[in-house]
């Protein structure tokens, strides 16, 4: 039965996280925006916090059932998006800098063997997919992995790797068989310090500056044979690749939640200013009979609510084991775009207050822009939604 009331357990959870975001993240938000690339040591307290992935499925029966049995705990996806919104209300760049909570950790947790879990489980793992010539078209990556005796030899260049400097290892996408196309793409764990593995440089970004984004070069980089995640076998067809892409169905709502968190920070800031100025927001008057600022505010709040509801729906579906490919992309398409529009509008309405680095709104405007770009640009999300609802293949709708 349809019921969109926020459950009490979520309210309790988010109010706790909100407090953390307010007292731990907000006070250092500006500092690490200005000191790009320096490690926010204050985040050590969060090391290993489960944010982007769930515990891996354990094989042994005698393992404790509450943790790591691979089954989603009650509403894990929903509570995760709710937590992420709160954290990003605090600071999105800092959320991305939480130790040992990288996308690579999520990838490892999802498919690693017990032995691999033993070796990599305690590491901070970054994720390296994008290449200079392969952005949205992740099937076109050219980094290669060739088996040479007991070692894989990797060659290529990986860009836009989050946590590039701080991580202990990187999950690298590479092809073991270019002719096999997408089916030949596998992921490998490359530890820092492996010969031929070099952090080339860190990027200087528009926003989320607290997060260290970098470029890696793999130059005849050698790693042990069992650093491959999943099977080395190249199957015919694209099922394997589709499986990898399916993980995006889980991560896209998380990005949508990040977008929602930043947009809410802006909306909350604006509300405070509006109320300080003596205007009472009463949600009853004809929206065309109030001041322009009030109407704009109401509209932003409405869009914010829409962003959150689309995100929660996608997460809720994942929790209930419903296929949510369309809904995950819908949430990111909407939230990514509107976080940008809401934070831009907030700065506009704030006037001089919206342009100064003494205040945070200008930062949120910069931070939010990435939400319409990473984990698939808004255009890619529209493409996915359109293909699904028009029932068109990627050949028919390019």
């Amino acid at each position: 039965m349809i019921n969109l009331e926020t459950p009490d357990y979520l309210k309790n959870l988010t109010s706790g996280i909100h407090n953390l975001a307010k007292t731990v993240l907000r006070p250092i938000s500006r500092k690490y925006d200005e000191e790009e690339h320096s490690y926010p040591k204050e985040l050590d307290m969060f090391r290993g916090m489960q944010i982007l992935g769930r515990p891996k499925k354990k094989k042994k029966d005698d393992e404790t059932k509450q943790e790591g049995d691979g089954k989603p705990k009650k509403g894990i996806n929903l509570s995760t998006v709710a937590v992420i919104e709160e954290m990003c209300w605090g600071d999105a760049g800092l959320l991305l800098s939480i130790p040992n909570a990288g996308l690579g950790n999520a990838a490892i947790a999802a498919v690693a063997t017990d032995e691999q879990m033993e070796r990599f489980g305690k590491m901070w793992a970054a994720m390296a997919i994008t290449e200079p010539g392969a952005g949205s078209d992740s099937g076109a990556i050219t980094t290669t992995a060739v088996l040479d005796g007991d070692e894989w030899v990797l060659n290529g260049e990986k860009i836009f790797v989050t946590c590039a400097d701080r991580c202990d290892c990187v999950v690298v996408w590479a092809t073991v068989d270019k002719k096999a196309g997408k089916a030949g793409i596998k992921s490998f764990v490359v530890e820092k310090g492996r010969p031929g593995f070099r952090l080339e440089h860190l990027e200087h970004k528009l926003g989320i500056r607290a997060s260290d984004t970098g470029t890696f070069v793999l130059d005849n980089c050698r790693i042990p044979k069992d650093n491959i995640l999943g099977s080395p076998e190249v199957k015919t067809g694209t099922e394997g690749f589709k499986g990898v892409m399916k993980t995006f169905d889980n991560t896209r709502p998380l990005v949508a939640a990040m977008a929602t968190g930043i947009a809410r920070a802006a909306v909350d800031y604006l509300r405070e200013k509006i109320e300080e100025s003596g205007i009472k927001l009463d949600y009853s008057k004809n929206p065309n009979n109030v001041s322009s600022i009030e109407k704009e505010f109401y509209l932003m709040e409405a869009h914010l609510e829409a962003m959150r509801l689309l995100t929660w729906r996608a997460a809720w579906m994942a929790d209930n084991e419903q296929f949510n490919n369309t809904e995950a992309s819908m949430s990111k398409a909407k939230a990514g775009r509107w976080a940008t529009l809401i934070t831009q509008k907030t700065c506009e309405l704030l006037g001089p207050l919206g342009f100064t680095r003494d205040e945070l709104p200008e930062k949120w405007m910069r931070d939010s822009k990435i939400m319409d770009i990473f984990e698939g640009t808004g255009q890619i999300q529209h493409l996915i939604v359109a293909r699904n609802i028009l029932e068109l293949s990627s050949k028919e709708l390019k």
Partner: protein, 361 residues
Amino acid sequence: MISFMPSEEQSVMKETLAKLVQNTIKDNAHDMDEKRIIPQEFIAKFRELGTVQSPIPEEYGGFGLAASPIMNTIILEELAAGDMGYAIACTLPSIFINPILECGTDKQKEKYLPALASGECEATLAINEMHFKFDAASPKTTAEKKGGKYILNGEKCYVPLADVAKYFLVAARCENENCLFIVEGGTPGLVIGEREKNLGLNTLSTYKVTFSSCEIPEENKLCGAEGYDRLLQKTRIAMSALGTGVSRASFEYARNYAKERVQFGEPIAHRQAIAFMIAEMAYEVDAMRLMTWKAASALEAGRDAKRESYLAKLYAGEMTMKITDYGVQILGGHGYIREHPVERYYRNGRCIACLEGLAIV
């Protein structure tokens, strides 16, 4: 527990209404719009389902089932996906019944509910007024208390089925407070004007209604500001449900059209310029529905939904225009021709932001 999935009962209602719309107005909606009429039997078909009477207590001839705002949004969306005028006409008695159930005295319930439960008469709401900067939160129509009576003065417009309505719920200011009054058809001073000619909702007959020193007994006051506020919340949620329905209809028609319409050797749906518009329509229809459900969930939980209902209607007003515009645009020149329903959806959709109080949850 939070859930985005309809219950079995909710799904069955949705399917039943989809079938009803399919079997009644679907192929006739164009003609109905041109002739500005809804065949009475089509309304009767809906009323047979008993959803209007359902919340009326058994002692007054209803089924005594708890009112469900969420179920009502599902009903309104489904009917409006067929024709918005039809959705309003079908559910109109509820706009009188629900406030009586919520705020009415036993005497008022006894007096008005049995006739409405048996379906022998119509009732309506007079809230909109034809003047610049109209605001439902501060009506210009007045009620003055004078010796055991209220005297109503003012002009209302877009009053659905005012020609046949036996009872009118009237929004008026009284002693600096928003109030609702019950006026019976035929009361001296209540003047029903000519049928209005509107941009859309052509299937629904609406009227200007004038109150000139219209005297009603004291006991015909239904409620003050609190009940009035609840009415606004419930009608705003209903308006967003109507917007969701008409937007969905436009989206579905444009989607199907884009898959069939061939230009430059392939369906236009194969072009990103079109496909992206359709994707946006899809998620905005969903967003509108979720906002509607969110507000209705608050009511269902017995909470105040002032903020949620206000935002839902604001969103639906904006988005219905955007989506129904896209619907016309995707069909290009054909979208401008009245044989395709998207032009009608575009006209009908305009009412969500312009008007208040055409339906209730």
